[in-house]
Symmetry: C2
Subunit: 395 residues, 2 copies
Amino acid sequence: MKLSKRVLDMQESPVRKLVPIATRVKKQGKKVYHLNIGQPDIPTPKVFIEAINNYDTSVIKYSFSQGEPVLINAIRDYFERDNIHFDEDEILITNGGSEALTFTTISICDPGDEILVPEPFYTNYNGFTGGVNVSIKPITTKAEEGFHLPSKEEITKLITPKTKAILFSNPGNPTGTILTLKEMEMLADIALENDLYIISDEVYRGFAFDGLKGISMGSIKRVQDRTILIESVSKRYSACGARIGSIASKNKVLIKNILKLCQARLCVATLEQVGAAALYQLPDSYTDEIRKEYQARRDIVYKTLQEIPGVVCEKPTGAFYVVVQLPVDDAEEFVIWMLEEFELDGETIMLSPAEGFYATPGLGKNEVRIAYVLNTDTMAHAMNILKEGLKAYKK
Amino acid sequence: MKLSKRVLDMQESPVRKLVPIATRVKKQGKKVYHLNIGQPDIPTPKVFIEAINNYDTSVIKYSFSQGEPVLINAIRDYFERDNIHFDEDEILITNGGSEALTFTTISICDPGDEILVPEPFYTNYNGFTGGVNVSIKPITTKAEEGFHLPSKEEITKLITPKTKAILFSNPGNPTGTILTLKEMEMLADIALENDLYIISDEVYRGFAFDGLKGISMGSIKRVQDRTILIESVSKRYSACGARIGSIASKNKVLIKNILKLCQARLCVATLEQVGAAALYQLPDSYTDEIRKEYQARRDIVYKTLQEIPGVVCEKPTGAFYVVVQLPVDDAEEFVIWMLEEFELDGETIMLSPAEGFYATPGLGKNEVRIAYVLNTDTMAHAMNILKEGLKAYKK
């Protein structure tokens, strides 16, 4: 009665594995500020629950396997604002961006195939690929270069006959880096020259600061038949628990085949789709306001980081994360120490050790990811705890 | 830019592929009674939406990867009523029974492995296995034997070194057959002797007629470490669109490993879990009433079937389906003919051709599945349309 090799090879979530320690110290009375997980404190817009309450709930029926038409059309409109046109049969609704990525991986890769991913990357990419026997081949990026991509030659060197796609999140989780248009064009060239799909995880699009625009990969027309856009309401509308994501691609044959996987699991939760449609229908002013809030948080985080000796990081320009090198040997040890040993007036912070965001062994050992998901005052307070904590740790 | 072999090998849902024909004739003004899909007409208990409305929806946060404690505990209580005890860390909440089955398959099978399944079987089992490179090896059962299992010897003959589990739905979709305790004990013996897991899909448990009890495989203690129970609120509480399922097993190591897959996709929709907890807390009287209603429907269906010459079926005793042999050569042709060519006062019915429920080529060609998901009067009316349709078709 064995377990499968593929599940045994999967690692426990590095973001979640320290949770029991945090739970324990909180029970002991310590207050912990969670900068370790991308759960924003922003209220979910009321239209979400209002739409659910206005829906006929007498029989909670199956939705369509491809998704509720009202939500599909709301997502079409969302892209249309950026002059990206999708037909109704080019969008599929999924159980979060997670299922979108798993279904895409299954549909373009067979066991043994590879996907290129810039590292550090969203650690759950390991689950979406490893669980279905696909390997991630990392493209290493560095803190001191602001986690921007290496040269075309360096990336091309990593491609083998087994490589089927390039996958990246843009704006980047965990890095907070936004790809330049030049980088996006380079990825398009690489995909065209090597016959690869492009999987563009855009769940943080809109979180772009300093006047930058979060450009969708869907804007690059010459690769639109090989581009798959991954979306989600989780971050943009602070509705992480709704689990509504989507897949969009101009490649109708691909969508038709991914639909088979959607049909097997019947549908995504009906009510959540109705609520999500109302979110996508919110005016741009909603996103503008949220962006301002996150930019203010980012400014506070970056300012404090600059004040701490030995910290290495470029100013992040998107999403709500930053990966920083700390003046410590082992960031995980430091994170645990902050939880167990340190406190400032009975309070401490929890960070994510960044090693789990890398596929290359040994990288990221002295790095952490900071999620700035708390309001500006609280973030300033939490960052001060980090500063004082580092001071005490060095002694 | 190829698609994967595994997705190309998947078939479109046979239940859903005739939908466009139905849509067309409905647009032309014909009324179609849907006996082809397991979408009950029973109202979802109001406690579902009430629980959601009473929940704090200011920020729709991530739930726990293993599921909301309130729901896990409600499911524990549900099993406890049958003296089946689960600890809190032996239950995982999933996106419907669908995800429960996919995650279980990934966790116990590597690519190339096999699972034994009595046929005809729920057609989406093909998707949950094929999408992750696992094969179904069918154990053929027959209409004239009420779809009961063949002998232990016949089943054991099908086992190879690649066989990892036996999977079945009990009460059975599409057959409506309930396994006898003797059959369950036989499956337990086979699993023990051949070191297999038992995946018991019990989403129709409670739909057991004629005084039969829907016995859970969880009652058979000697195989509890190798048994995985699959549950869902979809049918029992008429909440198909809620997409809440679960995995329960006394095998903690297995659960711990499936949890890795749960962590990768973060969580199941928070609000739906809160609603589902209220459903599982309903008293047994709720299920009793629903069972009576379905038994009355079953009686009407079976009575009409007995009146039609050339029809072969045993009286179904569970779920809300029956597979019947019709006096036709090609049941799919007949189903399409009923939609396109036949009408009785402007009305017709839609059935599911059963061929798609078999893995063995050629089987089920003259069979259909009838879902009795409409109230008794409507079912009587719809069955009369079938009777008249068959008469006309034979001419």
